[in-house]
């Protein structure tokens, strides 16, 4: 079973908090949350690189000694740029994407951002926390999801594009009935 790289990235150069690059990365994530929370999905697709890999692995509970096997080869999302466009097209351009019609009210809180340099100039690895709240129709309660995002961003002269996202969920058994929303 393939493993996810270790979360500790200390061997790589960290981009210091508050530097211009760090701030640009933070701004990217905040603006992205805005686009997704407001269902501006076509605009969101413009922030994606065409070589995007978007993967949300299934998680299993393992003993501490086996922690490297916690994340599986199967995914809740196992997508690339083309398949993300298909999903967005269904949500935006059809009149029968019932899982999000009426839409759920979603807030994505992104925090704990750490940015690392990579071997490729203008590409950065970004680790952040995601806290997502979701409410739908007249439900009294919220569905929650917390996760750690592992992103790779590419600077293309005037803005960042997302080239890789791996979302490490904190839940093994998801508490929401679907992931009709992007993480």
């Amino acid at each position: 079973m393939p493993t996810i790289e270790k979360t500790a990235k200390s061997e790589r150069a960290e981009v210091i908090f508050g530097s211009p690059i760090y701030n640009q990365v933070a701004a990217f994530l905040i603006r992205e949350a805005h686009l997704l929370d407001h269902r501006l999905l076509n605009d969101w697709t413009k922030t994606l690189a065409e070589d995007l890999i978007y993967f949300v692995p299934v998680r299993v509970t393992r003993r501490v000694q086996d922690f490297e096997h916690e994340f599986a080869s199967t995914g809740h999302y196992d997508d690339d740029y083309a398949s993300i466009l298909v999903r967005v097209d269904r949500l935006v351009n059809t009149t029968s994407a019932w899982s999000e019609d009426p839409a759920s009210r979603v807030r994505r809180f992104v925090s704990n951002i750490m940015v690392y340099e990579t071997d490729t100039p203008d590409e950065y690895e970004v680790v952040s926390y995601l806290l997502l709240t979701r409410n739908r129709a007249d439900a009294r309660d919220y569905k929650h999801l917390s996760a750690e995002r592992h992103d790779r961003l590419r600077w293309v002269g005037d803005r960042f594009l997302l080239t890789n996202r791996k979302v490490l969920l904190d839940q093994v058994v998801l508490g929401m009935p679907n992931l009709a929303i992007f993480l």
Partner: protein, 459 residues
């Protein structure tokens, strides 16, 4: 008529809720806690339940933890290669013996007092052997983990806690003829592509259970977005008239059902690609059933009878269920390289109280498929079905509504109706196996599911 006016929780028989004559089922069956308890005893502690696939535990001492009803079990491979299903409850004080979802161990040792068990569930011993801490009243042989009966079918691991019930094959009955076309058709069989997705759905397990029993009709409306996007045949917004993929052969028996659908009526990308006057071999060459590549066709011919080959050529089984709680999708899907591929998917709907169930989703491929194609199939499955799939995210949105309807004291007097009746019809060239419904996909299969449910609950 049904006596649907309830005074508090009903404690009497299920017959009050199922009108066999008029083919109606009261929504109360989705809500009643007494019925739920009966289901745990009569269905989940007795039926053959699917727990996974033997390729999930390929090596000696590998194990996974799964559920049979609300009972947690350890599914483990012994050093001799055999698969055992043991209740994950320590006979000492009731602690879970195993506390991770999967792993590999020669001895499952309870973390409470240290009692230890082999992968086959047998008791090894308790710490401080000289003091014989398991006592002198029971022998070591009596102190193993409770065992379920196990049957491997095409590598799928089925288990039952009913030691004296029918064999697995007896429980399948004549439907085995059709399931063999999905699960027992190649030299090296199926391979699981990773651990299952799991999610909790706020609905009674039977909402998804009865739907999996070949509810074809919902596709036209609930999955209309597929028609709108031109994935399925038919006109974008008037699909109800052209009704793609609604005509085929539905088969049923013992609550097990399958829909057999001619491929060329389903997908626009295959429309017109077959002709009536082709032989079975020609049709299969042009359009192998989902999961079978052209290279695997010789294996198919080796394992299938001519009758089965005819079914696979005419209308292969693609969706359905195994009673009580397995959903099947062996469907054609486009792969990311643009080719027409397949998604092989199994679900289980496992009850977690009357108002919740856990929905698990496994992806498969034939073992002899190339690694590259397996990776594309795994991705296509995640994109189409399960947690985020563009097809099934609409299903999991529907089921909670039904359970919520049953919360209302008036709502639960409404009924689910299965009154669109096709009746048994069989073309001369279709094998005389199980109940056969050829034509438009109506309620016959789902009613077979409910009749079987009723029979078990009133036995």
């Amino acid at each position: 008529m049904l006596d649907n006016v309830q005074k508090g929780f009903a404690k009497d028989s299920i017959s009050r809720y199922i009108d066999l004559e008029n083919r109606e089922v009261s929504l109360a069956v989705l809500h009643d806690e007494a019925i739920y308890e009966e289901e745990l005893h009569r269905i989940f502690a007795k039926s053959w339940l699917m727990l996974g696939h033997d390729t999930e535990i390929p090596n000696p001492n590998d194990y996974v933890v799964r559920f049979m009803g609300e009972d947690q079990v350890i599914v483990a491979r012994s050093p001799d290669g055999s698969v055992h299903v043991s209740l994950n409850v320590c006979p000492h004080r009731g602690m879970h013996v195993c506390i991770s979802d999967s792993g590999n161990t020669r001895a499952h040792k309870c973390i409470y007092h240290g009692w230890a068990f082999r992968p086959d569930g047998s008791f090894i011993g308790a710490p401080v052997e000289r003091e014989q801490m398991h006592g002198k009243i029971k022998t070591k042989k009596e102190l193993g983990l409770k065992q379920a009966r196990v049957h491997l079918y095409g590598g799928l691991i089925f288990a039952s806690f009913d030691q004296n019930g029918p064999s697995f094959e007896e429980s399948l009955g004549e439907m085995k003829f059709y399931y063999d076309m999905l699960f027992q058709r190649t030299d090296n069989g199926l391979e699981v592509l990773g651990p299952p997705q799991r999610l909790t759905i706020d609905a009674n397990w039977k909402t998804a259970g009865e739907q999996s029993a070949s509810d074809g009709y919902h596709m036209l409306t609930l999955h209309q977005s597929l028609l709108e996007r031109g994935v399925m045949g038919g006109e974008p917004n008037s699909a109800h008239e052209s009704a793609p993929a609604m005509y085929g052969v539905n088969v049923a028996g013992n609550g097990h059902t399958l829909r057999c659908i001619p491929a060329d009526t389903t997908f626009t990308m295959m429309a017109g690609s077959t002709t009536e006057d082709m032989t079975d071999a020609q049709r299969l060459e042009l359009m192998p059933p989902p999961g079978i590549t052209k290279e695997l066709l010789p294996q198919l011919a080796k394992h299938m009878s001519p009758e089965q080959m005819h079914v696979l050529a005419k209308a292969p089984p693609v969706v359905g269920n195994i009673f009580p709680n397995v959903g099947i999708l062996f469907i054609y899907v486009p792969l990311r390289d643009g080719s027409l591929g397949s998604g092989l998917v199994l679900h289980t709907m496992n009850p977690r109280g009357p108002h919740h169930f856990e929905w698990s989703t496994w992806f498969f491929a034939e073992n002899d498929t190339s690694e590259n194609v397996k990776a594309m199939m795994r991705a296509a499955c995640a994109q189409g079905v399960g947690t985020s799939g563009v097809i099934e995210q609409d299903d999991s949105d529907t089921w909670p509504h039904m359970s919520e309807s049953a919360r209302g004291v008036v709502g639960r007097t409404e009924t689910m109706k299965y009154q669109a009746i096709l009746g048994q019809t069989r073309a001369a060239d279709w094998p005389d196996k199980a109940e056969v419904y050829e034509g438009f996909s109506k309620d016959d299969c789902q009613w077979n599911w409910w009749k079987n449910y009723h029979a078990i609950m009133t036995r």
